[in-house]
Symmetry: C2
Subunit: 350 residues, 2 copies
């Protein structure tokens, strides 16, 4: 028998950050696809849409009118999943029926007044303004005694449940730490206690030596396809310096984060020459008043597409009942992303 070869043989990879496993089936990319084809998004939008509830000067569903904002704009979600004024309380019947009241705040962040843009089509200084707003929001929300965790994220594209194409993201801030960052916290704390360095510092060191999964770098951030990536073109933006949250970034580092986001999302759009759908978000220390030296700021990108603009990966069946599963190796995906141009296809005239 030949020896184990991770470019050929099915295997499981361990997510050091979350403690979970993913099943990798490198040979499976040859499988023919006869299933659902996604619609390719109509991507001809006006700079201003009078019916959009996020455009400057327009009225929202709740009746409020947006100011004529010129860069970014943030407001409380008119239909937030979390609300601040929840009475405390809960249910516990033998540990089997267990509920706890949860309070929080949901915010919407418009990235630009321009209805027709997306992050990859914005300049670094314009994205820097988005980063600045993330910093401010994290600071203000995180300072509240009733907020112990702040989740900043973006759903991009109808395929990712985004109901409005106006470039925007969201923030859900709440009393408890949700499962994903809680698990990452456990893994990071165990590593930090054993090694005295953050898990992602040491991981980054290995990845920079190997250069197999690195997509792009700048002075302060590295973008890579993590060894344990679940989604076909999943990536991770990691800060070179072990900071616990975005408020600790220097002005230069904020610019560098904007640069990394821009260059990565341009590559994404160039992969299939479409506005590339994804969910993305920052993971940072809980805002529970502790220092959390084990935490290392990073940003996840989870894009659903697999083979083309119309064929996505479905996380169903086995994935819901067993483990996540992927058909191409992270190394293959990193190679594809690495070879793409950082000039947006629309600017390049393709």
């Amino acid at each position: 028998m030949p020896s184990f070869d991770s470019t050929e043989h099915p295997h499981r990879r361990f997510n050091a950050l979350s403690g979970e496993w993913v099943l990798v089936s490198p040979h499976r990319s040859k499988r023919p696809w006869q299933g659902q084809q996604e619609e390719t998004e109509q991507d001809q939008r006006p700079a201003y849409d009078p019916t959009c509830y996020l455009c400057p000067g327009n009225a929202r569903v709740g009746g409020e009118v947006n100011p004529k904002y010129e860069s970014t704009y943030v407001f409380n979600n008119d239909f937030g999943a979390l609300t601040a004024d929840v009475p405390t309380g809960g249910v516990n019947e033998g540990g089997l029926l267990r509920a706890e009241a949860e309070s929080g705040i949901c915010r919407v962040i418009c990235f630009s007044p321009r209805h027709d843009l997306t992050l990859p089509q914005m300049t670094v200084p314009a994205i820097r303004k988005v980063v600045d707003l993330w910093v401010e929001e994290f600071q203000t929300l995180g300072a509240r005694p009733d907020i112990n965790y702040v989740q900043i994220f973006e759903n991009k594209g109808p395929m990712m449940g985004c109901s409005n194409p106006h470039p925007h993201g969201q923030i859900w801030a709440q009393r408890t730490v949700p499962g994903e960052p809680a698990q990452e916290g456990v893994q990071q704390l165990a590593y930090f206690q054993e090694h005295g360095r953050t898990l992602l510092s040491d991981y980054l060191k290995i990845e920079l030596e190997k250069q197999e999964r690195v997509v792009l770098e700048n002075e302060h951030f590295v973008v890579l396809v993590p060894y344990w990536a679940v989604w076909p073109y999943e990536t991770l933006i990691v800060s070179r310096r072990a900071v616990q949250d975005i408020t600790q970034l220097t002005p230069e580092e904020r610019d560098a984060l904007a640069d990394a986001v821009r260059r990565l999302t341009i590559r994404y759009d160039n992969l299939f020459n479409i506005s590339f759908p994804y969910s993305a978000g920052l993971h940072q220390r809980p805002t529970d008043g502790q220092e959390h030296p084990e935490w290392h700021l990073h940003m996840h990108f989870y894009p659903p597409l697999l083979r083309s603009a119309t064929v996505r990966k479905f996380m169903v069946g086995y994935e819901m009942l067993g483990d996540p599963q992927r058909d191409v190796t992270p190394e293959f995906s990193a190679g594809r992303l690495r070879e793409l141009s950082e000039v947006h296809y629309k600017e390049a005239g393709n």
Copy 2:
């Protein structure tokens, strides 16, 4: 301030079976939806399709020809994510890059020779044949020393990544126990060690007393929307008797499982008068040679639709980065399912 009311206030519920939490936002169902609309499936299929690779007598992609089977038919997946002949081996660099070879077997089960049927359109005796095949496969695969876990499941509908409408399910059997059943095992073992009864026996007792989340019952099985349901119309089929796996079911219990599957899936189809998409699957004890008295056989149904045949719940953004989130309470969903007829809408002539 009024006191906490789980039909009104945002709260988190604990999944006693998996150990995870779900965020419930009852007030959020009023949110308007301007996002992606799903296509409603073309549901006019012939009883036999000459181009279908699962119909009796047809050739498959790999070239093999299906027999002219008359009830069920099972074969090895031509593009399985797992293969049996994998050399052992792995990778471990400082616990940060970690991989392990994984071997297994992927099977495809045709539920019926009729291309135009689905489970809710089949008779109880016909579904019983599917149950019998599940039993046989679990027994045969589970007896192999290289197989320690057998995952039986079905992806139904293009929305759930199903690439062929011919009624069929799958089995992925493998060397290691995947994350979901592993976690359920941990929770069930802890409960069993403390109480000497299975977690689901005690849970079932509470649900049968309350009758708030029960959808339907027969002599041997109960179908309910679990207290911790994540998907809008998620359900759980639980055996009244604490059996560890499907091979332990008596003939009467096998019939009763077929009956429960049929009645539940008819209600699902009747909810929006369409062939209702879902991923469903059995969770059973690992086949590692241990007895696992803590395990209690059950079947999960995870359907994506939320408000209508064309509006689904998206598990994106916050859900991927934080916790799963739902907009209607499990009690509301159970009430909706409970009031539906058990005569399929196509037979009722709607």
